[in-house]
Amino acid sequence: MTEPLVAPHVLEWGYTRSLGPTLTAFFTGLRDRKIVGAKTKTGRVIVPPTPHDPDTGEDVDSLVDVSDEGVVETWSFVSHPRPKQPLDRPFAWALIKLDGADTAMLHVVDGAIETGSRVKAKWRDETVGYITDIECFVPA
């Protein structure tokens, strides 16, 4: 009986994602170093923004700017980051509720952290319109 075969297989593609009006506002905002949210008809501000109220599916009312500083709602510290992750040193994943927003967004935090910590976006020197234009959040 012979050994069954194995071989490496790579699934690789650079997906070209068109954004539509709402995400265009968000990503253009990132490039311009600001964070855009979407205000629902009930007045809640969703960040990152969606064209719809996530609770009901209704169209949102308008786009609004929110702060690039906010509060950590929950976090997890990772000692051994994986190669594709945003930082190559130990960091924390966190859900961050930015000032002016009613929902929290996922990003990474570099530095001491606990629930309730205030953190602020650290922008990359060169921003291009991508979620990693925020290199990470750091203690405010």
Binding site: T2, P4, H9, V10, E12, G14, R31
Partner: protein, 150 residues
């Protein structure tokens, strides 16, 4: 003012370890030795090559190995003129389903050594192997099929 960001490119790279399976591995080991070995379904007695582990109509394992001749018949073909990512050969080429003598199903391979306009369904063909040192556990060990001299 710069223009709006209306699109992003998200690179995806995923690594897998592919396992063709027990039956396919056996088939490919035989190919590396220069043999076409199919498997017979214990229920319907049909011979599958390449075997994929099960008889697709009976849903049972095909364990019995059957060594096949390296001659067969073209059951369908097409002339490919369109280049695509990951392509193995240059255009134009002829991809055909070939049913080996003793097998009950055709598989895809290249037809060469004949002008394309002379290829027809029912044509008799035989395997042309690459040089021995290039054989391996892949059906690319067979360079192509060509019309039989007969």
């Amino acid at each position: 003012m710069s223009e709006d960001v209306t699109g992003i490119v998200v690179p995806i790279h995923l690594d897998y370890t592919y396992t063709p399976g027990v039956a396919a591995s056996r088939f490919l080991r035989h190919i590396a030795e220069g043999n076409y070995v199919g498997q017979r379904c214990p229920k319907c007695k049909k011979v599958y090559v390449p075997p994929r582990g099960s008889c697709p109509t009976c849903g049972v394992p095909t364990d019995e190995e059957v060594e096949l001749k390296q001659t067969g018949t073209i059951t369908a073909f097409c002339i490919v003129n369109i280049p695509f990512a990951g392509q193995a050969v240059e255009c134009p080429y002829v991809s055909a389903t070939i049913q080996l003598d003793g097998a009950d199903i055709g598989f895809y391979h290249l037809i060469q050594e004949i002008p394309y306009d002379q290829i027809h369904i029912g044509m008799r063909v035989e395997a042309v192997w690459k040089p021995r040192e290039e054989w391996g556990t892949t059906t690319e060990s067979i360079a192509h099929f060509k019309p039989t001299d007969a």
